[in-house]
Symmetry: C2
Subunit: 199 residues, 2 copies
């Protein structure tokens, strides 16, 4: 009786449908417009159905957050693989991070709480740690001092992250930002931080 697997597949489809519907609503109408009933409408069910796939709304958002980190991780890895020089790898990776923030603006807001109240416990998501590891390793390759101190990597990683996340946040919340200045700050900061890695 292979119907068990078919039902399983159907369940996974509706689960995926819920997540997709949620993301579509958010992309078209913003985070404020997202409600359980509206998701249910989109998948042609009633709201309580969603609770058979997710414990509650926050659980659903956590899953979306996870997906976001998975996508971001892939983009960063791909950017890294597109270059051979460690410095250029690192720059490409942060540029991929930057592009993700604007291409998947809603996901980025959710993942990092930009103009939106993101879920607790998003700390210690394994998917999030993957991107951290990618960046840390890429920075590590640029450290010449031996033995390579862990502190320096952490310090530089957070410095990169601060300036880029900060610039993204400002762009997503404040209106009237200049794209040319964005690029100048972005490239300038990345280059400057790379140069100071071995001070």
């Amino acid at each position: 009786m292979g119907s068990k697997e078919r039902i399983q597949r159907q369940k996974e489809d509706t689960r995926k449908g819920i997540l997709d519907a949620a993301l579509q609503i958010v992309k078209h109408e913003g985070w404020n417009a997202l409600s359980m009933r509206k998701i249910a409408d989109a998948i042609e069910y009633t709201a309580p159905i969603i609770y058979e796939y997710f414990p509650n709304k926050e659980g659903l958002l956590i899953e979306l957050t996870r997906q976001g980190y998975a996508i971001l991780g892939k983009k960063i890895k791909k950017a890294q693989d597109s270059e051979t020089e460690p410095a250029q790898q690192l720059e490409a990776m942060w540029m991929a991070y930057w592009q993700f923030a604007f291409n998947c603006k809603e996901m980025y807001q959710l993942m990092y709480g930009v103009d939106m109240n993101c879920c607790e416990l998003k700390k210690s998501l394994p998917e999030a740690e993957y991107t951290t590891k990618l960046f840390s390793d890429a920075i590590d390759k640029l450290v010449t001092k031996e033995p390579r101190p862990e502190d320096i990597i952490c310090l530089k990683y957070y410095t990169f992250w601060s300036v880029i996340h900060g610039l993204i946040s400002i762009n997503l919340t404040q209106k009237g930002t200049n794209e040319e200045i964005n690029q100048q700050i972005l490239r300038g900061a990345i280059q400057a931080i790379i140069r100071t890695i071995n001070d």
Copy 2:
């Protein structure tokens, strides 16, 4: 009959009471716990009363935002006045900005949409432009090139702001950040950006 003035004063008191109550609730229970009914309870009225002082909840939040910018502006000005050297003034000002973010965490979240969905139209608040002007002028003092190009000031201002706001945001949303590393990044970045002002 001076009762008109007394009534006026009472009205201003309750208006202030509403704002204070809102801030107290947020400080004790977080932004999610803030509701019109809870504010009304705190000031021993019922919810509709609030609508005689503010058009709606967003209007109330905008007023709180304004207060936040006013406080922040004062702190930054005070920091500037505490130093005489332009470079040290600028550093002191950004350190004041940093301290405000953690001393008035809830206000900062509201003003800049950190882990909270902040109100629209917070662009073009005159109170917000004051701090921008303070920083711009302080940077201007450090530019030696003549004529001082407006671009450079804008660029450097956003660079400062990005790294500091980014670091603040990360600290406010992510758990388990290291205070020593924070200070290293903060001071390091400020010094580094100051050094590059006249490149």
